[in-house]
């Protein structure tokens, strides 16, 4: 009888350690995925001034579009230090929207597009937008997995011990971002 109890306890402990480690590993993946988003957002913040400088001269009469981009960028930089996920998602969503409008405007200036610099910047911007989108996709996938795991029946018993709390998803709040104009490159 005693031996049976001992074996049972041992089994439970082994299983508990496994479940605990799974949760910790997922938690680290979430943190890692978030860092990846952060890196890409910073990249975009750094890219905006170059873009503005390249198109400023030719687009004097489109001031509003340019100013919207600059304003959205400055707000995004401000929030990026110490904001929570939903707040950052909101301001970055505005920046995405403003950039897409700017790209759509650039499309209507054939002279501007013809200079090689813009073509390169367009590729950089497309790539940066994609990187943000893909890092968001990865983040949301990992978060979903983490949140599901910590609520599922066997793992839920060790969730408290592992300090697992549901992580926030990066959701699209901005209607403008959902209805982005399709930029043909």
């Amino acid at each position: 009888m005693f031996i049976v109890l001992l074996i049972l306890t041992a089994l439970i402990v082994v299983w508990g350690v496994g479940a605990y480690n799974t949760l910790i590993s997922l938690k680290n993946q979430v943190a890692n995925a978030w860092k990846q988003i952060d890196v890409q957002l910073k990249r975009r913040h750094d890219l905006v001034p170059n873009l503005i400088a390249a198109v400023k001269g030719a687009m004097n009469f489109e001031r509003g579009t340019l100013e919207a981009v600059v304003a959205a960028r400055n707000q995004a930089i401000q929030v990026s230090s110490g904001g929570d996920v939903s707040r950052i998602a909101a301001v970055e969503g505005q920046l995405t929207g403003a950039l897409h409008r700017l790209l759509a405007v650039v499309e209507s200036y054939p002279d501007l597009k013809a200079t090689g610099n813009i073509g390169q910047l367009q590729e950089e911007l497309t790539s940066t937008e994609n990187k943000i989108a893909f890092s968001r996709q990865l983040y949301n996938d990992v978060v979903t997995q983490y949140n599901t795991k910590q609520r599922q029946v066997p793992t839920v018993f060790v969730a408290g011990m592992a300090g697992a709390v549901p992580a926030p998803l990066w959701e699209l709040t901005e209607d403008a971002e959902r209805a982005v104009p399709k930029v043909e490159l």
Binding site: A33, Q36, G119, T126, F134, R136, L172
Partner: protein
């Protein structure tokens, strides 16, 4: 999540199979060597006291050591060897728009797949194709042909790169690179054997088997074990290259479907891979830069064997790649399901 479970199982399976492949490879050469020693020992046992007696198993020791060294080289230098054999050059500083786009796309897909950015290579060949190699995600390489860059649009390129990173992420690259390197080593055995049979080897064989000793064996009533071992041993030498070819076929087909599915998971755009595969399949020529030994690494059969066009048992058995029609059909089904379901619920 079942996707995650799949990935983990696949990684585990690839680790185990890589180990088995190495063990099998060394064991096979040990058998060739020590088997030969045993046979020689049997044949020279009742030679005259002054004659040659094969006592020290130098053949076995030499071949086993050689196999061990070959494995270490394959493990360490396998990826470099594969890339070198295709004349690929590395993209470090993108020199033109195509290269810049390639680097960007690879970086994007590395993010989507959650793997480190692999090193990027271009194979100077006009036929569109791509492959990945490396030991693990931290030291991986992705190579595309120049033709792929010019013929595919951004979305299609993205899908192909995602497919390759799928191979990287589930450790297919480890097993497939090892196999490519070891197949090369066994091909050497085949060459050697061919020369041996045609040339001076015959002399050696006839002197050791012929004459009195062979008669002596007959007088003993023909040691059946000796004959069985001799036949098996010669068969092993002859069939080794064929067996490794079949092995290369066996490992590569199922994982193409899995990598296609991973590509769809990374890009959320299975239709792009379907159209990329269609373009790759319908380009005219074979990818001549990619040699036979690394064919199973590629996204589509580089040898242009029309076998992959047909469905059915024969194609399933002998192609290095699954029939293209089935792959495209599976991807189109995925794309259709996405349309029906709308978004995948992740906001993209």
């Amino acid at each position: 999540m079942s996707e995650e479970a799949d990935l983990f199982t696949q990684q585990q399976r690839n680790r185990v199979r890589s180990r088995l492949l190495i063990a099998g490879f060394i064991a096979f050469f040990a058998w060739l060597g020590f088997g030969g020693d045993w046979l020689l020992w049997q044949f020279t046992m009742d030679a005259a006291p002054g004659g040659y007696h094969h006592v020290v198993p130098w053949l076995g020791m030499a071949l086993t050591t050689a196999a061990g060294i070959a494995t270490i080289v394959a493990w360490r230098k396998g990826p470099e060897r594969v890339l070198w054999s295709t004349n690929a050059f590395e993209v470090i500083d993108p020199a033109n728009e195509d290269e810049r786009r390639l680097v960007n796309v690879v970086e994007e897909m590395a993010i989507a797949g959650g793997v480190p950015r692999p090193r990027i290579w271009i194979v100077p060949d006009e036929d569109p194709n791509a492959f990945a190699t490396g030991r693990d995600p931290a030291a991986a390489h992705v190579a595309v042909t120049a033709g792929l860059l010019t013929q595919l649009d951004r979305d299609e390129l993205q899908a192909v790169i995602a497919h390759e990173l799928g191979h990287v992420k589930n450790l297919d690259v480890r097993l497939m690179t090892l196999l490519a390197a070891l197949v090369g080593a066994v091909a050497l055995v085949g060459d050697f054997m061919g020369r041996f049979m045609r040339g001076g080897g015959r002399l050696h064989f006839s002197s050791s088997r012929g004459g009195g000793r062979r008669g002596g064996g007959g007088k003993k009533g023909g040691n059946p074990l000796l004959i069985v071992v001799l036949v098996l041993w010669i068969l092993s030498w002859l069939l080794a290259p064929l067996v490794t070819r079949l092995l290369a076929l066996g490992v590569s087909r199922k994982r193409e479907y899995l990598a296609d599915a991973m590509s769809a998971q990374f890009t959320r755009n299975p239709g792009a891979l379907a159209s990329a595969l269609h373009k790759i399949e319908h380009s005219a020529a074979a990818t001549t830069s990619i040699k036979r030994g690394s064919a199973h690494l590629c996204i589509a059969d580089p040898l242009g064997r029309r076998l992959t066009n047909r469905e059915g048992y024969f194609a399933e058995l002998f192609g290095t790649h699954p029939p293209m029609a089935i792959r495209v059909a599976k991807l189109k089904a995925m794309a259709y399901q996405r349309e029906v379901r709308g978004e995948m619920g992740d906001g993209r």
